[in-house]
Symmetry: C2
Subunit: 118 residues, 2 copies
Amino acid sequence: MRDGARFAGLHLLIDLWGARYLDDVDAIESALLDAAREAHATVLNVHLHKFLTGGGVSGVVVLAESHISIHTWPELGFAAVDVFMCGDCDAFDAVPALERAFSPSRIHVDEQRRGLAP
Amino acid sequence: MRDGARFAGLHLLIDLWGARYLDDVDAIESALLDAAREAHATVLNVHLHKFLTGGGVSGVVVLAESHISIHTWPELGFAAVDVFMCGDCDAFDAVPALERAFSPSRIHVDEQRRGLAP
């Protein structure tokens, strides 16, 4: 429930521009785990992959409350992060850890309510 | 590029209602892998988790071209699927495999262009 609306999960689509550490797997893993912890989410699985071409990183943290994912384009200074959380967690609580870690010059957060009762 | 717009990746947020097999890990894994293959994506990692309470499943397939994720709520007949693909893959090519597998009575596909050049 949020604002009186009933839905299954809150999904934030977070686009970061002018961001740092986009080719740094360790920094990215720390950022995702910090984000999960600050949203009081339970981590079930972590998988990160660094691409040889371009240096981009893809990472997914599967949570008991859904997932956090990231895909980075270091050559653009761009990262697409998703924070999808259901249950008692608030996805917005994950955002400050991402801002601290990646220090983007611009951030755009789009809020999607998944599974709004039809 | 799509319709003359330059962006990093096409992200489909697919909400399925009245769907079947939402507590069946094997059926869900097959559906996600079929979806990836039909979109000509390269699978890097697969992780599925079945929850003991409620029977819901969370699954993520990390692709060379981004990811496919699913979270199911069997008690609602609802699943939230994300198909995020960059490069030469077309995320829309993954949708028919999902429809075949889950046979939803209602499907809503929301198209998000991630990383539109600012």
